[in-house]
Symmetry: C2
Subunit: 203 residues, 2 copies
DNA sequence: GTCTATAGAAGGATAGAC
DNA sequence: GTCTATCCTTCTATAGAC
């Protein structure tokens, strides 16, 4: 039955996503995924042939999700400052719903750098920069964001939203020990990060 | 021979460190470590009994290295701004020599949160905050760094120096594609990050 | 202390029945 | 399409000779 096929294949994919994010490629067991999906181990091979193919399917989906999030901000008709606010609000909200993605993604990339080529096409930073420059020539000049400093600027933005999630287990532990609430910290970070970055470039 | 014991045990430890950082706990093979050390696989068990014990030894050393780096800045007789500059210079220089540590550390923590308890004693942030408050009461007030916002502030500092290394394979790839040099970017980041943070809190 | 040989377990993958 | 049974490889760990 086609209906059942779809259900099973999707269930496998979702279970694989959960298990791979939790354990990583090396730590994940096909048995774990089968158990999570409530099906037999050999069905995984029936639908995806090998562990590697299953992993690649999951990884590509996640990579796409992560990077498609960076582009839409450019389409908005907003000032540069408003775009910074918009980005942090959207991106951190997305990560709140998917807190395990940054750590999973960065780690798998480090373990297997060859995988970058598969999705680096999703990212055309030269185009992103050209667009940004066309939209905000005056503001960029005012803030001293040039072709020289744009990597510093962009990675600082990414760092401000991604790092709290990449290190969330550690950060949450330390905060708990000190009487802070991690979820509250994240919620407030949407505004804090925007203020922080805007102040930083205003000088 | 005691001389030989020490040499072999150290060689194993160093090889294990290299392999674990590269492959992670789950991806590392005892055979890889033995090959790297140029010795027989069973010698690993002779000195460390199990893979887990060997890993724990490596992990604890690395965790110590990473966190002891945060404290000395407090001993210096410097203004808050100078301390921020001092920290980025020292910490990024350390990470230049050990670029794989952040990714390895954060990932293993996420995979096995229970490990945090083993070294969270290295970190007494309440004491750190009390010291900082005593040393820079006026400046902290001026910059609006309070007990409320200190987690935001501290994680932003950490993010600015750690994130470029945690995501270095990805960042370096994108930069190479765009004609930037990663090492140059990192070298310049020591100053950029300090300027960025100081401007951010000055408002 | 270091090696060879191998036990014992686990995991990925396949064959074949239904 | 889904299951049971099982193969084959890989990996950790140990036994035992030197």
């Amino acid at each position: 039955m086609v209906e059942n096929d779809k259900q099973t294949e999707e269930k496998i994919f979702e279970s694989a996503t959960a298990v791979f994010i939790d354990k990583g490629m090396d730590g994940a067991r096909m048995q774990d995924i089968a158990d999570h999906a409530g099906i037999n181990k050999s069905l995984l091979h029936y639908y995806y042939r090998t562990k590697e193919r299953l992993f690649n399917a999951v990884f590509e989906k996640i990579a796409g999700q992560l990077f498609r999030r960076f582009a839409p901000v450019l389409d908005e008709k907003l000032s540069l400052e408003e775009k910074i606010r918009f980005f942090f609000r959207e991106h951190i909200t997305f990560l709140q719903k998917n807190p395990g993605l940054p750590s999973f993604f960065l780690n798998e990339i480090n373990r297997n750098p060859a995988m970058i080529k598969k999705f680096i096409r999703h990212i055309d930073i030269n185009k992103l920069w050209t667009t940004l420059e066309a939209q905000h020539k005056e503001e960029l000049k005012k803030y001293n964001i040039t072709r020289e400093t744009v990597p510093q600027f962009m990675t600082s933005i990414a760092a401000m939203s991604v790092f709290p999630f990449a290190g969330r287990v550690l950060i949450a532990s330390i905060m708990e020990k000190m009487g802070y609430d991690f979820d509250d910290y994240i919620e407030k970070r949407k505004e804090y990060a925007a203020d922080f970055v805007i102040s930083a470039i205003k000088k």
